[in-house]
C-alpha cells in the first residue's frame, strides 16, 4: 500500500477506493478505480489530472457525498461511509468542501449572511439573528470581503467574490479537513492566485488539511505538500510536490509537466513539449493492462497485458509503471 510510511496519524486515509457508476445496459463507468492515499494533519495533497479522470468523484466520495463501490475512506480512523445519525453530523462539521462552480454552489435566494452562516445554523452554533449577522460579517472580513456585503444577494458579486463567499461558508463551522474541488478553475488567473494565497493563509491560521483537486499544475505546486497524478480513475504517480516537479517519472506526468507554460519568452521558446496523441480512452471500457498504454510512446507488450502496481522508487515517491524500476 502506498503512502503508509510518509506520515504518521493521517487525517484522511483512503484505501483501495472504488466508485463505479452504472450506465445502463450493463455498462459500468469506473470513475475511481482502486485509489489509495493518505493526508497528514495540516498538509495538502494536490490531486491533478485531465478533465473526466475522476478527481471530483474521488473528492466527493471521500466526503461521503457519493456512496462508495468498495474500499474504504477513513477520517481519523472512522469509516466515512458507515457513519449514521450523530456521528455523521459530527463528521459533516469537521469536513467541508469548496465547490468548483461559485455560480451554481450558492443559493441565489439567500442573502450572503444567510449563506455563510448556514452551517452554523445546522450545527446549532449560533442562537439568534444578531449573532448570525456578527459572525457573517466577521467571516466576510476574514476572506477579504466587506461587512456590508452581508445583506446582498449572490448575483451582485463577481466570480472571485463568490468563491470567497464559498470559502467563508466552508470555514464558518471551523472544519479540520477541506476538499477544495477545483476552487480556482472558474476564475481568471489574477484572482486564482489571490484565492490560493487565501487558502494557504487560512491553512496556516487554522491548521487545516486540504485535498486540493485541480488541473492547473502550477497552482497545485504552489499549494501542495504532496501531489497525486490521476489518469482514468487511477493514481499513476504520488510524491512530494518538489520531487514531482523536479523528477517526474511516469510518462504521463512528464507529458503533463511539459505542458506548463514558462513565463519567460526565451526559455519558453526552447521548452520541449511532449504532445500526447489520441484521446483519453472511455472510462466505461478502459483498456486492459496499463490505462495509459494507448498513448504512451514507451509502451511495451507487458504494458498492454498487465496492470502496473504502485511501486516505491524513492523516498516518498510512488509510481505505477512497468518501466520504472
Amino acid at each position: 500500500m502506498c503512502g503508509k510510511s510518509i506520515i504518521e496519524e493521517p487525517v484522511l486515509q483512503v484505501n483501495h477506493l472504488k466508485k463505479y457508476f452504472p450506465m445502463g445496459k450493463g455498462q459500468i463507468l469506473k470513475a475511481v478505480d482502486d485509489v489509495s492515499f493518505e493526508i497528514g494533519k495540516g498538509k495538502t495533497l494536490g490531486l491533478v489530472g485531465e478533465s473526466g479522470c475522476g478527481k471530483t468523484t474521488c473528492g466527493r466520495t471521500c466526503t461521503g457525498l457519493y456512496s462508495k463501490t468498495s474500499g474504504e475512506v477513513l477520517f481519523k480512523g472512522q469509516d466515512v461511509h458507515k457513519l449514521r445519525g450523530k456521528d455523521r453530523k459530527a463528521f459533516t462539521k469537521s469536513v467541508q468542501t469548496i465547490f468548483q462552480d461559485p455560480y451554481a454552489s450558492l443559493d441565489p435566494r439567500m442573502k450572503v449572511s444567510e449563506l455563510v452562516t448556514e452551517g452554523l445554523r445546522i450545527h446549532n452554533m449560533i442562537s439568534n439573528k444578531k449573532e448570525e449577522q456578527e459572525r457573517a460579517q466577521e467571516l466576510l472580513r476574514l476572506v477579504g470581503l466587506q461587512a456590508e456585503h452581508a445583506n446582498r444577494y449572490i448575483h451582485e458579486f463577481s466570480g472571485g467574490q463568490r468563491q470567497r463567499i464559498g470559502i467563508a461558508r466552508a470555514l464558518a463551522i471551523e472544519p479540520e479537513f477541506i476538499v477544495c474541488d477545483e476552487p480556482i478553475s472558474a476564475l481568471d488567473v489574477s484572482i486564482q492566485a489571490q484565492i490560493v494565497n487565501l487558502l494557504k493563509e487560512m491553512q496556516a491560521k487554522m491548521d487545516l488539511t486540504y485535498l486540493f483537486v485541480a488541473h492547473d499544475l502550477s497552482m497545485v505546486r504552489h499549494i501542495s505538500d504532496q501531489v497525486a497524478v490521476m489518469y482514468l480513475g487511477k493514481i499513476v504517480e504520488l510524491t512530494t510536490s518538489d520531487e514531482l516537479y523536479s523528477h517526474p517519472v511516469h510518462p504521463y506526468t512528464q507529458a503533463l509537466l511539459s505542458a506548463i507554460p514558462i513565463p519567460d519568452p526565451d526559455v519558453e521558446k526552447k521548452r520541449e513539449r511532449i504532445v500526447l496523441t489520441g484521446d483519453v480512452p472511455s472510462p466505461i471500457s478502459p483498456p486492459p493492462g496499463c490505462r495509459f498504454c494507448s498513448r504512451c510512446k514507451y509502451a511495451t507488450e507487458q504494458c498492454f497485458e498487465e496492470e502496473p502496481e504502485m511501486k516505491k522508487i524513492g523516498p516518498e515517491h510512488y509510481v505505477a509503471c512497468h518501466l520504472c524500476k
Binding site: 453530523k89 451554481a104 443559493d107 441565489p108 445546522i122 450545527h123 463551522i173
Partner: protein, 312 residues
C-alpha cells in the same frame, strides 16, 4: 486673480455636487436602500401601469366585499313592487327580478367568490407543493406511483365529478372550497415536481448536504424558496380558475344555495331577464372578468418581483 478667490470658487463648485460622478451616487443609494421583497414589489408596480390598475381594482373589490354589511339594504329582502328597477339614488345598480338591491347582492356575491377562490387556491397550492416536492425529492418508484395517482385525478372529468359530489354533500362554502381545491392541485404538483427534480441536483443542494443539512431543511430552505416564482404563477392561475369554477357551479345551481348570492348565481338569475334588462347579466359578468384578469396579471408581476436577479 488671487489664490483666495480661487479657493472660494472651488468650494462653491464642490458644494453643488457637480463633480461627484453620477455612478458613485448610484452606488451609495445601492448600499443604503433596503433590497427586500417589498422594495422590489414597489418598483415593479410603479413601472407597470396595468399591474397598478389591477391591484387597485382588487383592493377595492376586497374592501367593498368586506364592508358589504354597511350597505343600507338587506341583500335577501324582496320587494316585488319595485322589481327590475333601473339605476337610481336608492338602488345604485337597480334591483333584480325579485326587487332585491343589485349592488348589495353583488357585494355579498363578491365575498363568496373571493373566499372560495382564495381558500381553494390555498388548498391546492399547499397540497400540490408538498405532494410535488416529496414526489420529486424522493424520486424512483415513489415518484412514479405518486405521479400516476395525480394523472388519474387529472384525467377524471373534474367538473362533472364536482357536480356529483356537490349534489351528494350538503352544499356549503366549505365543501365547495375543499372540492374545488381537491381537483386543482395536480397542475401545481406537476410543476413543482419538475422544478424539484432539477433543483435537487444543483450544486447548492449538494453543499447543504455537505454541511450536514437534513432533507427537511433542504426542502424548506433551498428547494421551495427557489420555486416561489413558479408557485406564484400557479397560484394566480389557480385562484382565477377557482373563481371561474365557483361561478360556473353557482350558475348551474350547484354552488351556494339561495337566497345567498354569488356572482355565478346572479348570472343565472339574470338569464330570465336577459332580453329586457341585459345590465343584470353585465355587472356580475364584468366583475368576474375583471377579477380573474387582475389575478392573472398580478401573478405575472409578483413572479418578476420575487426574482432577486431581476432587481434593477
Amino acid at each position: 486673480m488671487n489664490p483666495e478667490h480661487n479657493e472660494i470658487v472651488r468650494d462653491e463648485v464642490l458644494k453643488e455636487d457637480a463633480f461627484m460622478p453620477i455612478e458613485t451616487k448610484h452606488k451609495e443609494d445601492d448600499v443604503l436602500r433596503d433590497r427586500g421583497i417589498w422594495y422590489n414589489l414597489l418598483t415593479s408596480f410603479k413601472e407597470n401601469k396595468l399591474a397598478m390598475f389591477c391591484l387597485c381594482f382588487l383592493i377595492i373589490i376586497i374592501i367593498a366585499s368586506i364592508l358589504a354589511p354597511l350597505s343600507p339594504h338587506d341583500p335577501d329582502k324582496m320587494d316585488l313592487l319595485n322589481k327590475l328597477a333601473p339605476m337610481s339614488k336608492e338602488h345604485f345598480l337597480g334591483t333584480d327580478g325579485l326587487g332585491r338591491d343589485y349592488f348589495t347582492r353583488a357585494l355579498y356575491g363578491g365575498r363568496v367568490s373571493l373566499v372560495v377562490g382564495l381558500f381553494s387556491m390555498m388548498v391546492a397550492i399547499v397540497f400540490g407543493t408538498l405532494y410535488g416536492t416529496i414526489s420529486g425529492y424522493i424520486g424512483g418508484t415513489v415518484d412514479n406511483l405518486m405521479m400516476r395517482a395525480a394523472d388519474i385525478f387529472m384525467s377524471v372529468p373534474s367538473f362533472l365529478l364536482i357536480i356529483i359530489i356537490n349534489s351528494l354533500l350538503s352544499p356549503s362554502m366549505t365543501t365547495m372550497i375543499v372540492i374545488i381545491g381537491m381537483f386543482s392541485w395536480m397542475g401545481v404538483a406537476r410543476i413543482v415536481r419538475a422544478e424539484t427534480m432539477s433543483l435537487k441536483e444543483r450544486d447548492f443542494v449538494l453543499v447543504a448536504k455537505n454541511l450536514g443539512a437534513g432533507s427537511f431543511r433542504i426542502i424548506f430552505n433551498h428547494i421551495i424558496p427557489n420555486m416561489i416564482p413558479s408557485i406564484i404563477v400557479a397560484a394566480s392561475i389557480s385562484i382565477a380558475r377557482a373563481i371561474l369554477t365557483e361561478s360556473s357551479l353557482s350558475f348551474l345551481g350547484f354552488g351556494v344555495q339561495l337566497p345567498m348570492s354569488s356572482w355565478g348565481s346572479m348570472l343565472q338569475s339574470a338569464q330570465e331577464h336577459i332580453m329586457d334588462v341585459p345590465s343584470l347579466a353585465l355587472y356580475p359578468g364584468l366583475l368576474i372578468l375583471l377579477t380573474v384578469l387582475s389575478f392573472n396579471v398580478l401573478g405575472d408581476v409578483l413572479r418578476n418581483a420575487l426574482e432577486p436577479k431581476l432587481v434593477k
